[in-house]
């Protein structure tokens, strides 16, 4: 009666089990599905019309800057939606008071994280693709014109979102639902240092090292180089990837430590309270 004998297949079945639980939730709730695209599309409307207005008033340089602005809005949503997607998927387990069943099943912590990452990617796509299509339809802004390097931008921004989300999940494990506000707010707090809408050079000199420690700032410097100069800033991509590795390792260590602390303190028994 028991399932696949290969450990890899067994692991895959458990990961799919948790993903199925969240996909079934969307199947039964169209407002949840709509909510995924709501904010990215709204952002695109606001910033798209702003960029169009500026372009009509000040001409070609503003049109170029407007393109960079729209690219920034779209790509920053990749990080935001990846982070929120992972954190909120975990919070869904707390809200439904189901976490106890999940943690006493044979699901390993790394399988839990893998399922959260996969659900985050699905949620991010469901949010960002409609916004990208809207940018193309309303403002003739084609993000994909950046070329194949766009995929590397996407991957780096997703990974940064996941690293932050893993840190948020760790804090929720440790401090319970009281820490859930972080799921919505933490990445917004990094926006000033992520160089989304302006280059790092605009920041005061003493703040620039902070910005350079954020993977997204290198991605957005690279995006502006691609959109405004037509060049691929490989050095910026390399920095983004390297810093992401450091962030991911840090987040994984934090998660592992907080999971153990929660198992010692009994936080897993009262996490939804």
């Amino acid at each position: 009666m028991m399932g696949p004998t290969s450990p890899i297949m067994a692991s895959g079945q458990r990961i799919w089990g948790l993903m199925y639980r969240h996909l079934a939730l969307f199947r039964r709730s169209w407002p949840r599905l709509l909510e995924l695209a709501y904010w990215p599309v709204l952002q695109m409307c606001i910033w798209g019309f702003t960029a169009s207005f500026l372009a009509t008033r000040t001409g070609s340089p503003a049109a170029l800057a407007g393109g960079a602005l729209l690219g920034g809005v779209l790509l920053w949503e990749v990080s935001l939606r990846s982070q929120m997607g992972m954190s909120i998927t975990f919070l869904e387990e707390i809200w439904s008071r189901n976490l106890g069943h999940v943690f006493v099943s044979p699901l390993r912590p790394f399988e839990l994280v893998t399922a959260l990452v996969a659900m985050s990617a699905i949620r991010m796509m469901a949010g960002v693709i409609p916004a990208a299509l809207l940018a193309w339809a309303l403002y003739a802004f084609n993000l994909f014109a950046i070329g194949p390097v766009l995929l590397l931008f996407f991957v780096n921004l997703m990974v940064m979102g996941w690293a932050v989300a893993l840190a948020v999940v760790s804090l929720i494990l440790r401090h319970g639902a009281g820490a859930e506000a972080l799921a919505w707010s933490v990445l917004f707090g990094l926006t000033p240092f992520a160089a989304v809408f302006y280059p790092v050079s605009v920041l005061p000199t003493w703040l620039q090292p902070v910005a350079f420690a954020v993977p997204a700032s290198h991605v957005f410097e690279g995006m502006r180089a691609a959109l405004l100069d037509g060049t691929i800033a490989w050095d910026q991509l390399a920095w983004a990837s390297g810093i992401n590795v450091v962030w991911l390792i840090g987040a994984a260590v934090l998660f592992s430590a907080q999971f153990q602390v929660a198992r010692r303190s009994g936080a897993l028994l009262s996490i939804g309270e």
Binding site: M1, M2, G3, P4, A10, Q13, R14, W16, G17, L18, Y20, R21, A24, L25, R28, S29, E92, S96, R97, N98, G100, H101, V102, F103, V104, S105, P106, L107, R108, Q260, R263, R264, S265, G266, L268, L269
Partner: protein
């Protein structure tokens, strides 16, 4: 080999000793009752058996697997049900069972779900959201979830709490039949003394984190000179008698 072996198990939260050096063993196919008032340490003990909580000291072995080093091997052959841990309410009964079938690595999932639906009279509930069921229906669904992987060890925390006497009796009857047919080992925490007398072959009486007495239900009744376990429970809770502690 014992199904569950616990030695020197303690759990301390700051200055509070929630579980204080308990030891017990459960033979395969046996049903052990864990009795005690609120704060006696039942839930803490079950949480440690499930690996949700790391003991301060002591050792737990389930089906030959050390829970400190090899808990996932044991968890795959265990399951758990409690009215205090919900199933996702927006998912249908069938979807819930499918989720846990995947998490527990069940093969031929559709056949297993259909089998449980027939046995626990869930056929008409399968497409209904779990959150919209009555307490009795939720208990039957939770029981189906806890049996999805045909567990060798089943941990039940107050399985019939909040059920009416008729539904409670049906659940108890079903558990008796399941244990007899499968040879499953059951650990049952309950405040329902009639339930414990009916289902359990051995009972542990917990108080302030310690085992203050143990034995077969009839042995406890004889030792305390009582007609039912409720009176024995009250004797222990109110220190009306002080039989020699066996812990």
């Amino acid at each position: 080999m014992t199904a569950i072996s616990v030695t020197g198990l303690s759990k301390r939260y700051g200055d509070t000793l929630a579980v204080d050096g308990i030891a017990f063993a459960v033979a395969p196919g046996e049903t052990l009752g864990l009795l005690g008032g609120n704060g006696a340490g039942k839930t803490t003990t079950i949480a440690m058996l499930l690996g949700l909580l790391i003991p301060t000291s002591g050792r737990i072995s389930i089906l030959g697997h050390d829970m400190a080093t090899d808990r996932f091997a044991a968890l795959a052959r265990m399951n758990f049900s409690s009215p205090y841990v919900a199933l996702p309410g927006r998912l249908s009964v069938a979807e819930n069972l499918r989720v846990y079938a995947h998490l527990y690595g069940v093969r031929r999932i559709d056949a297993r779900i259909a089998e449980l639906a027939g046995q626990l009279d869930l056929d008409t509930l399968m497409d209904r959201p779990a959150g919209e069921l009555s307490a009795g229906q939720k208990t039957r669904v939770a029981l189906a979830k806890s049996l999805i992987n045909r567990p060798d060890v089943l941990l039940l925390d107050e399985p019939t709490a909040s059920l009416d006497p008729d539904t409670g009796d049906l659940v108890r009857g079903w558990l008796e039949r399941y244990r007899a047919e499968s040879g499953c080992t059951i650990l049952l925490a309950s405040h329902n003394m009639a339930e414990v007398e009916r289902l359990c072959s051995q009972v542990l009486m917990l108080k302030k984190g310690r085992i203050v007495d143990r034995g077969a239900p009839q042995d406890l009744l004889d030792r305390y000179g009582r007609d039912d376990l409720e009176q024995v429970f009250l004797d222990i809770a109110r220190d009306r008698q002080h039989p020699e502690a066996v812990a």
